[in-house]
Symmetry: C2
Subunit: 251 residues, 2 copies
């Protein structure tokens, strides 16, 4: 048995999300289909993050147990010819049997991109949330600061979450302007994220930016005294899983 | 009568090109459909550049003659709610009756974007031509230099061109690296372009980059002695009409 992990990127627009389901094409489903062609047996793929419908990835990591060895350097090209054009395998590596794409991860990094132009920048439409008008970046940065550190993020978890503990640590919550491109990008790096947590955090921060929520309300939501300050869930297409970090880089 | 011009942007992926045709949706067709809703009469739209199927625009300009006046500042939003999501009106302006989106233009600027990553950057797939591997940018820049100025571009014109003169002036032919993004961008600015000229110029320059054509062959093609050096036509999705310039900016 050959435990293998892949670094993959995808345009999530056409998919019902990462996790396999009956009624929509999924990233996991497409990967398992391509792997079954190569290995001639059905294989189960486990992802580091179960991205939702419409969410993208530049650095998702998955693992599976291969029945025989294929040189790692050949796997990306072999899989890419079998995968749809909007899913690309970037790297492959053999890993220790104990490696788990999700549980072995020490950090995950997501970006959320806002299109700040008056009318949508149409070539970025599939990968941004269009939000023109008033936006108080100073207030948002202040609110973002209060999210850093170890907190109980229970208020920022959507129904359907199965996590036992709702305590997570955020290492980075940044907001950066892309010079000359009318984009604002949030960066969230944390020990892990609850179901829809990044999009709910973004939803709260966008309310702060629009002047509809005071920056202090976000810290209050973390303390459990302002549950109304959490969310709404920001639209999926602005979100991208950028990077998954392991104590030892498998690639 | 109110001669009006619009600055528009579009993702050309889903369209048969700018110019109206029977068997595919077109940019012109969608614009005329939206304008007919607003003005209650059929109107003819004229574009500055007749971009091909799959080619994009960030700064296409079109004009039409409106039967009554609608305040320019309201037109973009009114049209955008009627247009498909991949076509966006950015600006509108009233123009002099003599204004013609194409014939009044003094310069046009196109970009052509190459994805230089080993495997396709999937979020850029619709807007780039993926070209990994050997690429001699110094040779390409040398060849590009020979294209600048006024030349007979007859060799770089596809069948179907109806232009009387094939003499055009190129003001800029640049190749720039986008730091940290593994992109190479060609910029072509000229007095005008023949049918498929930008993509044929790009096709020749890519052969130079791959070491399959010597840089001097491009100047020879312009002199008419190396017609084999012109083209092939590079794929459409890398091309974008960025800007149309008029002696007086209508916007």
């Amino acid at each position: 048995m050959h435990p293998t992990c892949l670094k993959i990127s995808y345009d999530g627009t056409a998919y019902g999300g990462f996790q396999i389901q009956k009624n929509a094409p999924t990233i996991q489903g497409e990967l398992e289909r391509a792997l079954a062609v190569i290995y001639k047996v059905p294989l189960r793929v486990i992802g580091a993050g179960r991205t939702d419908a419409g969410v993208h990835a530049r650095g998702q990591v998955v693992h599976y147990t291969a029945p025989f060895k294929i040189p790692e350097e050949r796997l990306p090209a072999a899989l890419n010819v079998l995968l749809p054009q909007d899913i690309v395998v970037l790297r492959a590596a053999l890993v220790a049997p104990a490696f788990h794409a999700c549980f072995s991860a020490t950090k995950k990094l997501y970006s959320y991109t806002l299109d700040r132009a008056l009318y949508p920048q149409v070539l970025l439409r599939r990968f941004t949330h269009h939000l023109p008008g008033v936006f108080d970046t100073a207030a948002v940065k202040k609110a973002a600061e209060s999210l850093k550190g170890t907190h109980d993020f229970q208020a920022f978890r959507a129904a359907g979450s199965s996590a036992r503990s709702t305590v997570r640590t955020l290492y980075r919550v940044d907001l950066d302007e892309v010079p000359g491109r009318r984009l604002l990008i949030f960066t969230f790096e944390g020990s892990g994220f609850l179901y829809r947590m990044v999009r709910m955090l973004t939803g709260s921060l966008l309310r702060v930016g629009r002047g509809r929520l005071e920056p202090q309300a976000i810290a209050a939501a973390l303390r459990g005294v302002r549950p109304d300050a959490a969310g709404p869930t920001a639209p999926p297409q602005g979100l991208c899983l950028e990077k998954v970090t392991y104590s030892e880089d498998p690639f």
